[in-house]
Symmetry: C2
Subunit: 175 residues, 2 copies
């Protein structure tokens, strides 16, 4: 499951709740969080288009290895470029693109980490949505709208898709 | 299983035969080959000590993720520095260090890829054993001596250790 969207759109939160739900269903789960990966596997990479592409390509390689061995992997990274996401789709194979959509005004107003304010002041270069582009997915498998839905609703949408697509069995209602 | 040793010592060959044997026993297997990783996950890294350390740290991260999900991972990379291997041990946890030992004279004489000749002529910088150090493991779990043993003997040593250490069940002799 490849979550893409602006910083602050809710990718990491959805990833964690989704991981919890999938674990309840007995699936081996791994979250590959873009912010974490940048401190380990992608330490030293910046935010130029080239570095972003390298970052996404590395995440995709790790996702592919885990996916190959039956792990349900949730990637949560801005991944602003359509081309890099499409390359990740090819690398990984079983790819479910989830567009975590949230209008720029809303994530700016939230600004949980204070990053948008810093970016507006020019203190952070190459900031997606401010000084760097974000290319929305043209044909994502799922769109969640975190300004209109609760986290549970977004996760339910994803679970419902995974059931319909045959990735997970349909949930049996408990008595 | 962390295979370490000079270029040409036989790491990749042992890794493949070992992988085959473990697959026969029903284990999910992944080989992380240093040469391959340098064209993907570690593209752009050179052979300075710092770059080598980064290379090994990245391989270790990927090994750790796969190991966590029950995959038997075989890493085959020169990994010349003891410190980097010890860090990998900590990162991965279930770590079996296999010293693929072969005297420098023998790997030079083999020189399958012609790399030692090039290194001797100064055409390759930072070449382990010629212009860069190799630190043999002080306390590896297993030592294979590829100048004295066949590949099958080396692999049998590793399988025997894995059985004794409880990583795999003892093989039942077929009738």
């Amino acid at each position: 499951m490849w979550l893409t969207g602006l910083s602050g759109a809710g990718k990491s939160t959805i990833a964690r709740v989704l991981a919890y739900e999938l674990q309840l269903r007995g699936l081996p789960i791994e979250i590959i969080d873009g912010d974490v990966i940048r401190t380990t596997l992608c330490k030293g990479l910046g935010f130029s288009r080239e570095d972003r592409d390298t970052n996404i390509a590395r995440i995709a390689l790790v996702c592919a290895l885990l996916t190959k061995h039956g792990v349900a992997v949730i990637s949560a990274a801005i991944s602003p470029y359509a081309q890099a996401r499409d390359a990740a789709r090819v690398t990984i194979g079983n790819f479910v693109e989830v567009y975590v959509e949230c209008p720029l005004e809303v994530v700016k107003a939230r600004d949980i980490k204070g990053l948008y304010e810093k970016a507006e002041r020019g203190e952070i270069a190459h900031f997606t949505g401010v000084s760097d582009p974000y290319e929305p997915p043209a044909q994502p498998e799922i769109v969640t709208q975190t300004h209109r839905e609760s986290v549970d609703e977004s996760v339910a949408k994803i679970l419902s898709y995974l059931e319909r697509a045959g990735y997970i069995p349909a949930e049996v209602a408990s008595a």
